[in-house]
Amino acid sequence: MHIMDGILSILWIAVWFVVAAPFIIVGLAKIAKRRKENPAYMPMLALMGATIFIVSVWHIPVPVTGSCSHPCGVALSAILVGPFESSVLAFIALFFQMFLAHGGITTLGANTVSMGVIGGFLGYAVYLALRRLHAPIWISAGLAGFFGDLATYVTTASQLALSLHPENPMLYWGIFSVGFLPTQVPLAIIEFALTAAVVRYVAINKPEMLGGIR
């Protein structure tokens, strides 16, 4: 999700910006609408933005592999503020992370798609589906966090494969994904626990924050 400048070809830089744009535009429109309805929405949105910024830039070590990586926090954000709004927050977080040598300006579209769009929407879809099946809220939220995290990195793998190895993207998608997994799966489990704990806590203490999907 933090692909740096100079990695993707110009074609794919443009493609990922075009893919990200509609999600950002719809997200901004939704934020403007909800802001008019409820002024207290903005501070909560700002808090979620700060959460995504911190969580997705934090290096968490995985002792067994001797390496580290970042969780994402976008599934949690998508559940609490909505998936489109969460895409906007991810875009803003990634923009500021760019100054911390995480990601790049030319790859902002690609990174927004992998983290904000795919991670957020897939996590939200998992949460929604499991709640419809009457799964407990902590399992629904936890699995949303787990799959949202993995989906982000699997998408990053596909972005790299498509741009760097257009002759055989499926093979390299597999190679990149397998390379990411030993570090990313333990972090996805941490994200399971984080998302489950926060959403369950909110559901008990501030259920109105979850809207109609409790």
Partner: protein, 102 residues
């Protein structure tokens, strides 16, 4: 400060403490190098392909402190100016005839 905010802040403090402890365990007990795995994979691949990669925009260590401190201060002033009820206490809310968030 209401109960929800108080517990949320306490949980945040606990989470940060847990993350810092896990970092120390990973680095000093298990000998981790703190290498960000997926970044290393991307960099290795780019080096093999001979790509000229990096960060077009980067503040550097000192610049990060200055820029983010300034950004935090400016954002704080903007938030306080644009959404004053956030910082209202019971006393000021009463004076303004509104409800408090505190």
């Amino acid at each position: 400060m209401d109960k929800f905010t108080k517990y949320a802040l306490l949980i945040m403090v606990a989470a940060v403490a847990l993350m810092i402890i896990s970092t120390y365990i990973g680095v000093f007990i298990y000998g981790g190098s703190m290498e960000t795995k997926y970044i290393a994979i991307i960099e290795n691949e780019a080096e093999e392909l001979g790509l000229n990669f990096g960060h077009l925009v980067e503040l550097g260590e000192e610049g990060e402190y200055i820029a983010f401190s300034a950004a935090g201060a400016i954002t704080g002033f903007l938030m306080g100016y644009l959404i004053p009820p956030i910082f209202e206490t019971k006393k000021t809310a009463k004076q303004n005839g509104g409800e408090t968030n505190a």
